[in-house]
């Protein structure tokens, strides 16, 4: 097992849940704030902007919604764009399922409700590192991050004009830094490094090429498929070294 960036440390389940949530909340509050401001600017009543944070709990989905609705798009095209952006959740939710197969369906459903890019990344990394699954830790992490998201959106929607520029706090980089810190231990083999570079480059190319709603889902499907094909070839070449 190569050295990894450890996401887990011994301690009570709730402390581990809060530990996992902390960097995510640092990012969610200012991003949620930005959403609240944008939503109101785009003609969405403040209360409804908060309801969206509670119901959807999806940064990219909510931003797409606000900008399309504000731009005069209809119900169908707005919802379709949100659905496309969120196709990646299908992949993450499916990727979590082998790790959660021991717990009941109701618990899996409840944990699925708390799935975001960020909670997925921290939970799956911990599971890959051998963390013994503890649903309390996952619930606490998910609800803490959800709460911070709703709080950020609420402040932005109701008192967006009270806060000036938040950029000097540097928190708009928190989520990017978190993903960098989690991507490094994902690169556990040369094959994984290759997949990361390929998928990242494809995602950038698709987004720069205007496919800003499709890029993550399409690049992920392509990257995972390349990983599967290459790992099968590797396995055939040297059966001992199953990746």
């Amino acid at each position: 097992m190569p050295a990894t960036v450890s996401v887990r440390q011994p301690g009570p389940p709730w402390a581990e849940g809060l530990r996992r949530a902390l960097p995510i909340t640092l990012g969610y509050v200012p991003v949620g704030f930005t959403f609240g401001v944008l939503a109101v600017k785009n003609g969405i009543p403040a209360g409804l902007a908060v309801a969206m944070a509670v119901l959807m709990f999806s940064g990219s989905g909510q931003f797409v919604f606000a900008s399309l609705w504000g731009g005069g798009a209809g119900i169908l095209s707005t919802a379709a764009a949100v659905g496309i952006v969120n196709l990646r959740y299908l992949l993450m939710s499916a990727a979590e399922s082998p790790w959660l197969s021991r717990i009941s369906r109701v618990k899996r459903f409840l944990l699925g409700l708390g799935l975001t890019d960020e909670t997925f990344a921290v939970h799956i990394t911990a599971l890959q590192e051998g963390w013994p699954l503890n649903t309390a830790t996952m619930y606490i992490c998910n609800s803490t991050t959800h709460l911070s998201w709703v709080a950020g959106c609420t402040i932005g929607a109701f008192c967006g004009n009270l806060v000036n520029d938040v950029r000097p706090l540097g928190l708009d980089y928190a989520i990017t830094a978190m993903f960098l810190a989690l991507l490094v231990p994902q690169c556990a083999s040369r094959l994984h490094v290759l997949i990361a570079i390929f998928t990242g480059a494809l995602s950038v190319a698709l987004k720069a090429g205007g496919m800003s709603q499709w890029n993550v889902a399409v690049a992920t499907v392509a990257g995972a498929t390349l990983g599967l094909v290459l790992s099968l070839r590797q396995k055939r070449a040297e059966p001992e070294d199953a990746a």
Partner: protein, 118 residues
């Protein structure tokens, strides 16, 4: 109460749209993990899913770093790219999750404080 109904009537289209957007957000989150039998997936699908974490994290973070102001930018004016190089090195060398995030945020604060880039 009647005020609430009046409000809802006034925002009928928007409420419908929020309901639809909620459905297409929540269903992809819950359907696979709730209904897939994770312990008896076909081995090929299982192996494919094992590559999803590395792929999805790379697909999420790369545009944050390389796309600045809506376009691909490899120049020094791309703050997040400039900060991500040392942050990546810290992640790689220290293997420490919190130190990596703190260094990354710290560098962004410093760069903006020094008015080097936004």
């Amino acid at each position: 109460m009647s005020g609430l109904f009046a409000w809802a009537g006034e925002h009928e289209a928007l409420l419908l749209c929020v309901a639809a957007a909620t459905l297409v957000t929540v269903l992809p989150k819950v359907l696979p993990v709730t209904f897939l039998r994770g312990d008896s997936l076909p081995p090929l699908l299982r192996r494919w899913l094992d590559f999803v974490p590395v792929a999805v994290m790379a697909a999420l973070v790369a545009p944050d770093i390389f796309i600045y102001d809506g376009r691909f930018d490899l120049s020094t004016s791309n703050l997040f790219l400039m900060v991500s190089i040392p942050t990546f090195l810290v992640a790689w060398k220290t293997k420490n999750y919190f130190v990596t995030i703190a260094v990354g945020i710290g560098l962004v604060i410093l760069a903006r404080w020094a008015a080097w880039a936004v």
